[in-house]
């Protein structure tokens, strides 16, 4: 263990230069997010991830945001265990009928002001699962959505670009 730890002290970090915030995401946020909310949430955001019915592909890439290459926490973005602590709900999947109530309750348990980010193609409109008896639709059909990050699943880089737009939106206010 000593060798591994010492080496980490002397070698260069793997963490990569942050990408620029996604332009489309900035535009969507400017239209949807109130200036007052941006001011209050400031530059540090607590994120609560909710899987509302995904295939778990999106979860894998959201997990990757925490690895040494992307290191989400350096931007002041961190995942929290409870919606009560959260500023942002990061929601994946088509919303299944079986998860609809749980998502609504999670949304209601999150204090205002709050933002909802819908992650992945399925979260936009149900994706390839739309039309099933078991699917309620996209995230926007159940709770108000402020930002969409598309992809199947979105890469960690795409996720990062979208989430950085939240911070850029905050500082622009």
């Amino acid at each position: 263990m000593r060798r591994t730890l010492l080496e980490s002290l002397t070698s260069r970090p793997l963490t990569e230069t942050p990408p620029a915030a996604d332009d489309a995401a900035l535009a969507e946020l400017a239209a949807s997010v109130e200036r007052a909310a941006r001011r209050r949430l400031g530059r540090s955001l607590a994120i609560r991830q909710v899987d509302a019915g995904s295939c778990n592909g999106c979860e894998l890439e959201i997990h990757a945001l925490n690895n040494a290459f992307y290191d989400l926490e350096r931007f002041g973005l961190r995942f929290v265990a409870s919606p009560r602590h959260a500023d942002v709900l990061l929601v994946t999947g088509p919303v299944t009928r079986n998860m609809r109530e749980a998502l609504e309750r999670t949304y209601n348990a999150t204090p205002d002001p709050k933002w909802v980010v819908a992650v992945g193609h399925c979260a936009a409109d149900g994706g390839i699962f739309a039309g099933s008896y078991a699917v309620a639709g996209g995230v926007g059909d159940v709770v108000p959505v402020d930002l969409h990050i598309s992809g199947c699943p979105p890469t960690p880089l795409q996720l990062l670009q979208g989430l950085l737009a939240l911070l850029a939106g905050g500082s622009a206010a």
Partner: protein, 507 residues
């Protein structure tokens, strides 16, 4: 040893079911097969419902040693069938799902509560004779637990981490878990109903999104089922590329799991370093096949695209890097007593239960079940590649970590061999639906988690019916048993060492 055909001697074979036989049986023969499975003469491999002219139930059974598979089918004109779960507990959840989805009643079943249907759908029996669901959502009775000073801890469906949703109901006496009961279905998307009538291309995309972490394995199982049904074969180069993707998927997932298990024992250093290896494997996959998870890269008939030339170079460099780094992480795991203290003798699955449930993957192999679908019944190109299947007997979290470590080593070897022996030639065969037949096919692929079974019935080049069985069906119930008597704080550790799929199970 009697062969499977001897176990079900009188069934009437169905034409066009490949590669294994499917037999139409009577209720008596169905009961006989259930007794044989319960007696341990064969392993339950799948149990699912079907619509058609007559509602039907199908049961797949396999002989572990030879890999011989038989599907038996029982017509249920009266919408009921003799319960297998009454004799053989691993069938109970599958039968509850059949009842909820198809409205077919397992007669004599020990548990009549719904499964997957949580009361939120507008219809009951969505895959059978649909009827409107009652306006009032029926209450769900969890199993009773009696004793002094017991308390309940309900967890989920929304969990504290970045995980899929499911409900866990713990009953604990102090710190010790007296009973865990799971309730799933939250991510049920109705994949089987979306499959019915879909083109093969659409259906393949659905199969690839049944459980995102096993997208290659699902793509492969589905493709093999379709190819069997159509009687076509993927070209040799495609088979090698599929195996390359499957092993890369296994590597990435095992790295993620080994790190995450250690993280749940609060040993973040392993998590950080395994996370780096996982990311590097995913980047190599992206460079080789244009998608980090390699989604939709395995298609019926072959693969969507050949390996990118510069990708192969990056993959070789990545393998070399992993070979240099991984042994040190293994040493770190092995030499950290505080970590071993958490993983050793925690969450034990008895060998007898692993056998009875036909537990696949690292869950089975850590408890002495020497089974790997790549070897038995086996599929190309693994018959031409030498690899070992690690088996341990301790059955604890530590054993499940070590199985993954050994499998990483095997996968590294396999990828190197595949790269060295990649045959030339085309990467896909055209699918021919010209025969217009109603072919049926069964496909099998060993995901990182265990064997994925895919069964299809085609109508021309469309899917009439498709069933996908995730290995988690036979692993989740064992988790309930494994945590009994452990402390509540060790549940995340046990759960992560199983890493079952919610989405693959819920469909």
């Amino acid at each position: 040893m009697p062969s499977l055909i001897d176990i079900i001697p009188h069934g009437e074979p169905v034409d066009g079911h490949r590669p294994c036989p499917r037999l139409i049986v009577t209720a008596d023969e169905w009961r006989h097969a259930a007794r044989e499975v319960a007696a341990g003469h064969a392993t339950l491999f799948g149990l699912w419902g079907d619509t058609g002219t007559v509602p039907t139930v199908h049961m797949a059974i396999i002989e572990d040693a030879t890999g011989e598979i038989v599907v038996i089918s029982l017509a249920c004109p009266a919408k009921k069938f003799p319960s297998v779960g009454a004799l053989h507990p691993p069938a109970i959840r599958l039968e509850r799902a059949i009842h909820s989805l198809y409205g077919l009643v397992p007669v004599g079943a020990p548990d009549a509560r719904p499964w997957l249907d949580l009361g939120f759908w507008e219809v009951r029996h969505p895959l059978g004779a649909r009827r409107p669901a009652p306006a009032e959502r029926p209450a769900y009775a969890f199993l009773p637990v009696e004793g002094e000073s017991l308390h309940q801890i309900p967890v989920g469906p929304v969990h504290a981490g970045i995980i899929e949703p499911g409900h866990f109901r713990f009953t604990a006496g102090g710190e010790t878990v007296a009973r865990l009961e799971q309730r799933f279905g939250y991510v049920h998307k109705g994949i089987e109903s979306l499959m019915a009538g879909a083109t093969i291309e659409q259906a393949a995309r659905l199969a690839a999104r049944t459980s995102g972490d096993s997208t290659v394995a699902y793509g492969l199982a589905f493709a093999q089922a379709v190819e069997a049904a159509l009687g076509v074969e993927a070209p040799p180069r495609a088979k090698y590329l599929r195996a390359l993707m499957a092993e890369l998927e296994r590597l990435a997932n095992h790295f993620g799991d080994i790190g995450a298990i250690c993280n749940d024992a609060s040993f973040a250093l392993m998590h950080a370093h395994c996370g780096i290896l996982r990311e590097q494997a995913l980047r190599a996959a992206d460079a080789c096949f244009g998608h980090r998870l390699m989604m939709d890269r395995v298609v019926p008939g072959g693969v969507a695209d050949d390996i990118h030339r510069n990708g192969a170079t990056l993959l070789r460099d990545t393998l070399q890097h992993i070979r240099a780094r991984f042994p040190r992480l293994v040493e770190l795991y092995d030499n950290t007593a505080s970590l071993q203290d958490r993983t050793t003798a925690t969450g034990i699955v008895a060998a007898e239960l692993a056998r009875q449930f036909g537990a696949a993957g690292y869950v089975g192999r850590a408890s002495g079940r020497d089974f790997d679908a790549r070897r038995t019944p086996g599929y190309a190109p693994y018959d031409q590649l030498e690899f070992a299947v690690p088996v341990l007997t301790a059955g604890d979290v530590n054993a499940r970590v070590w199985i993954r470590i050994r499998e990483v080593e095997q996968s590294l070897k396999l990828i190197e061999r595949i790269l060295a022996h990649l045959p030339d030639g085309p990467t896909a065969t055209a699918l021919d639906g010209g025969s217009g037949g109603n072919g049926e096919g069964l496909g099998l692929a060993e995901s990182f988690r265990g064997d994925v079974l895919a069964w299809v019935r085609l109508k021309g080049l469309r899917v009439a019916r498709c069933h996908l069985r995730d290995p988690s069906w036979f692993q989740w119930p064992l988790l309930e048993i494994a945590v009994e008597g452990n402390i509540v704080a060790d549940f995340p550790l046990c759960n992560k060492s199983f890493n079952c799929s919610y989405s693959g199970h819920d469909l």
